[in-house]
């Protein structure tokens, strides 16, 4: 069921992207679109992909456009607004709650995380 889902992974640090991709592969999610900052993520979101992107896993702290800014843009775009959005961040819970109160964040995972934690979050978000 989830096999064909396309996931977007946004992080400026390529090792982190590889880590996340590996975790995704572990739960049979092999269709991944990568972006190394918010700007290119936004461009790729707006380009048609087949199958369409159905989950965004995004780092908060990035040069160019931060994860927060990307989230706001995604949420204010009619065709993208419903995509689940998991923020990867090292910020504390208070700050996340405060900032994301303004935009609708589906879930977040705090760095450092273990592979299993991320898997759990993804499965939760995808309703598995």
């Amino acid at each position: 069921m989830t096999e064909n889902i396309c996931v977007m992974v946004v992080d400026d640090f390529s090792t982190m992207r590889r880590i996340i991709k590996k975790v995704l592969k572990g739960i049979q999610l092999e269709n991944v679109v990568e972006a190394d900052n918010g700007i290119s993520a936004w461009e790729k979101l707006n380009a048609q992909t087949d199958p369409p992107i159905e989950l965004i896993i995004c780092d908060w702290n990035m040069p160019g456009m931060t994860g927060m800014e990307l989230l706001e843009k995604v949420r204010s775009d009619e065709s993208l607004a419903d995509i689940p959005f998991i923020m990867v961040t090292a910020e504390g819970k208070d700050k996340i709650d405060f900032e994301t109160g303004k935009a609708d964040l589906t879930s977040y995972i705090a760095k450092p995380f273990k592979a299993d934690e991320l898997k759990e979050k993804i499965n939760l978000v995808l309703g598995k």
């Binding site: 640090f13 390529s14 090792t15 982190m16 290119s40 702290n61 160019g64 456009m65 760095k111 592979a115």
Partner: protein, 822 residues
């Protein structure tokens, strides 16, 4: 009484030079030196007790050497010279003078204490293990400088290692390794004694070096383990031997992490240096912050706790800077740079851990971590700490552009005025960043690719010049081949550009070097780089790094004067060091320019005369005199300081550069500064060459060095005693080389007026190479001759000619030098 003070300094210097130059060969000189020193001590009235004690030790040392009681003669002399130098520093009121004097005293003490117990030492301050470490370090340094035929140096090395093995505080493991090194060294010495033709083999040096290194790293790993008796083999404390690499580590991902973090750290280091000159640069703060942040987050995933912890603390420090809580000044910059260094070390260790060694906690890790966690508790603040009695030397500034030019004190110095209240500053701004997409390719794969393209170029030109193609009649085929030629050329250009990288990274390393060195020698320097986007062959970057370090060190150590001296001379306190790179005539030129005191022509000629390099410097141009310092055997003040000494000499610098077909030269204006200039070929692999024929052989002369070709008139040729044939060309006498005679080629043209003389130039000198014919100019893909044929006079490499035969590339630099020295 300033005169007598200066007098003392001058006499000290005299004594030091005396020992340096004649000490080992002439016992009388030593005796004189000791007596002179004793007179000095008496005259100085014992008012400076540390200094007096040091000088007293020197006297004792000189006597020991003179009476042949010293266990390590050369080591003792070195230590004595260093001590005298330190004493001079002290008297000149240089920065860190107390430390220098103390350190020199300790070193001398330790060296003398080896003197078979007959020279009683004044103190027992030196920990036996420290002695072992110092001696090992000295041995390693000695090994680095050994020439392949210098057996006396090798014997000295043996004595040093022997002292380590015999030392009371030597841990058993360290002793075993040192013994291995000793055996190797002794074997070399024995062979040398048995066979006068024997030279010290390179791999023996490597093996000894590796053993010494292993012993040293063992020492540093077990630094905290106290070792008292030789039999004592206490296990290191548990914390020190913990392997921090998790068992189930994903090695592939970790290597990717290491590679990517390397870039992050380099960027962070650069940003930190920018930050020091411009603490308001928010973009720089966030670059560093993000580097620490990413390393922290990712290392945590891999459970690399050492990195996570350090990066976490460093990140907190930077976030406090970002949030305006502290200013990036005072003790913080050092702390941040130390964290970067520690991270580098951690990644180096991690890389080694991937290759199988345990991932241990590096030395000083806990201390730094503690400092980072609570810098204020350790007295670190953003206020420049007042260090008495010397004024705090401001840090060098790092600018991309030229700041205020000569003649005035640079105005925009880092804010040195203590400011207690932290200035609030804008929050992190998100700037635009151009993200270039790229992939990483292993360098050996790239090298092979480029080699293959080189082969392709050669075999393609064989096709193109084949009778069948070039002979006419096959018009269609010619068109096709011409088209392929175009593609091949394009492919070649493309492949060459793939290995080209900007000099930026190298320049940044220099920025760090300048920063650290200028502090160490107490000089104020602003460092300016230009043209750091200039690209050179990646393989060349490593080769030019050492010469560059050498030149920068020289400029800082010997070129730029102390701030007080500069002021007295009416120069700005800040010395300027320019590092620039640019293209010029198919070469990349890298220049190190300082505005220091320049080179001392008289001192150089005097030294060169003394070393037998020249007879007298009267008729030489300044340029020729300055370039004498590149001659083998001309070592300048190398022992004098640990900054520019101890490493390679300038002759090695030149050899390294010439090995890649580059050139070095120095220009200087006394009192105004010096310029060291390296010209490097754009790439290592391809040159433009003129193919010439001699008999049945073909040779290649690099086009860049050809001045002209002539068919001389017989009346212009004369034979000069000891110089052979000379050609008078436009009033100049040019030595002639018959290539046929040089390489014993038969059936070559022997009539000079029928042959062709190719006039070549190198380093301002000319020579004429006599060949039969000029065949044509073309691009030549260079092949090395291989190790065994590496050193043939007159040949620098080989190339495959279009007809498939091998042509030798003439070493113009070597030939011209040969022609002009005989």
């Amino acid at each position: 009484m300033p005169t007598s003070h200066e007098d003392i300094v001058a006499r000290l210097r005299g004594i030091r030079e005396e020992i340096d130059h004649r000490g080992l060969t002439e016992p009388a000189a030593l005796k004189e030196a000791a007596a002179g020193l004793e007179r000095l001590i008496r005259e100085m009235d014992g008012e400076k007790s540390d200094l007096n004690r040091l000088l007293g030790l020197c006297v004792k040392g000189i006597r020991a050497v003179n009476e042949l009681r010293a266990a390590d003669t050369l080591g003792s002399v070195d230590a004595i010279i260093e001590s005298l130098d330190a004493a001079e520093h002290y008297l000149l009121d240089r920065p860190n003078k107390e430390v220098l004097v103390r350190e020199a005293g300790q070193l001398l003490d330790s060296v003398l204490s080896k003197n078979s117990g007959r020279t009683e030492t004044d103190s027992e301050e030196i920990h036996p293990e420290e002695f072992v470490e110092m001696t090992l370090n000295d041995a390693a340094a000695c090994l680095l400088q050994i020439d392949s035929d210098d057996f006396s140096e090798m014997e000295r090395l043996c004595r040093m290692i022997d002292a380590v093995v015999a030392a009371r505080g030597c841990p058993a493991r360290c002793r075993t390794i040192s013994e291995q090194a000793l055996q190797l060294a002794v074997r070399v010495v024995d062979k040398g004694k048995a066979d006068p033709e024997f030279t010290i083999p390179e791999d023996a040096i490597t093996d000894i070096g590796l053993a010494l290194e292993e012993a040293l790293s063992f020492l540093s790993e077990n630094e905290t383990a106290s070792v008292d008796t030789p039999a004592d083999e206490k296990p290191a404390p548990e914390a020190e031997s913990t392997d921090y690499l998790p068992d189930d580590a994903d090695l592939d991902l970790i290597s990717a992490f290491i590679a990517e973090s390397g870039d992050l750290i380099t960027n962070a280091e650069e940003a930190l240096l920018t930050l020091e000159s411009n603490p308001e640069d928010i973009e720089a703060v966030s670059t560093v912050f993000r580097a620490f942040h990413n390393i922290k987050g990712t290392s945590a995933f891999f459970e690399l706790s050492l990195m996570t912890e350090l990066a976490h603390h460093a990140e907190s420090l930077l976030s406090r800077v970002r949030d305006g809580e502290i200013r990036y000044a005072g003790g913080y910059p050092d702390l941040a740079l130390r964290s970067v260094d520690m991270l580098k070390e951690l990644f180096r260790l991690l890389q080694e851990a991937l290759n199988g060694s345990p991932f241990l906690k590096p030395q000083g890790y806990d201390e730094l971590n503690g400092l980072l966690a609570a810098p204020e508790a350790a007295g670190i603040s953003d206020v420049s700490e007042p260090v008495a009695p010397q004024p705090v030397s401001p840090r060098p500034r790092f600018d991309e552009k030229t700041p205020s030019t000569d003649g005035e004190t640079p105005a925009a110095e880092p804010p040195a005025s203590p400011q207690n209240a932290p200035t609030p500053r804008p929050k992190l701004q998100t700037g635009k960043q151009v993200v270039e997409s790229s992939i990483r390719v292993p360098i050996d794969r790239l090298d092979r690719f480029i080699d293959m393209v080189g082969e392709l170029v050669v075999s393609h030109s064989m096709v193109a010049q084949d009778e069948l193609v070039a002979g006419g009649g096959h018009h269609e085929l010619q068109k096709k081949v011409a088209h392929t030629t175009k593609i091949v050329r394009e492919l070649q250009n493309m492949s060459m550009s793939m290995r080209m990288i900007p000099l930026k990274t190298t320049f940044r390393k220099m920025a760090r070097l300048v920063r650290d060195l200028s502090r160490k020698v107490g000089k104020d320097v602003s460092f300016i780089t230009e043209g750091e986007d200039t690209e050179i062959d990646r393989n060349m970057v490593d080769i030019i790094n050492d010469p560059l370090v050498h030149m920068v060190r020289n400029a800082l150590d010997h070129g730029i004067e102390l701030p007080e001296v500069r002021e007295k001379m009416g120069k700005p306190r800040y010395g300027t060091l320019h590092l620039s790179a640019f293209h010029s005539a198919g070469n990349v030129v890298v220049e190190v320019r300082d505005d220091g005191k320049g080179l001392d022509r008289d001192a150089i000629t005097a030294k060169a005369r003394e070393r037998g390099l020249i007879e007298n410097g009267g008729g030489m141009s300044d340029r020729e005199v300055y370039n004498l310092i590149f001659e083998p055997g001309f070592s300048t003040a190398e022992i004098v300081s640990d900054v520019s000494g101890r490493g390679v000499g300038m002759d090695v610098v030149r050899r390294n550069i010439e090995a890649i077909r580059g050139q070095v030269e120095i220009q200087a204006t006394p009192g105004r500064g010096a310029v060291f200039k390296m010209s490097l070929p754009l790439t290592l692999a391809i040159i433009d060459g003129m193919v010439v024929g001699v008999g049945a052989e073909k040779y290649v002369i690099p086009t860049i060095s050809i001045v002209r070709s002539v068919q001389p008139n017989p009346k212009d040729i004369s034979t000069v005693l000891h110089k052979g044939e000379m050609l008078t060309l436009q009033g100049k006498l040019i030595p002639l080389f018959r290539i046929a005679d040089l390489f014993d080629v038969r059936e070559a043209e022997s009539e000079l007026d029928k042959a062709i003389t190719v006039v070549v130039e190198n380093d301002g000198h000319q020579a004429g190479l006599v060949v039969d014919e000029l065949i044509g100019s073309q691009q030549i893909v260079i092949k090395t001759l291989g190790e065994s044929l590496g050193n043939i006079t007159g040949i620098s490499g080989s190339a495959i000619m279009p007809d498939g035969r091998v042509g030798l590339i003439l070493d113009v630099g070597g030939l011209v030098r040969l022609a002009n020295t005989d």
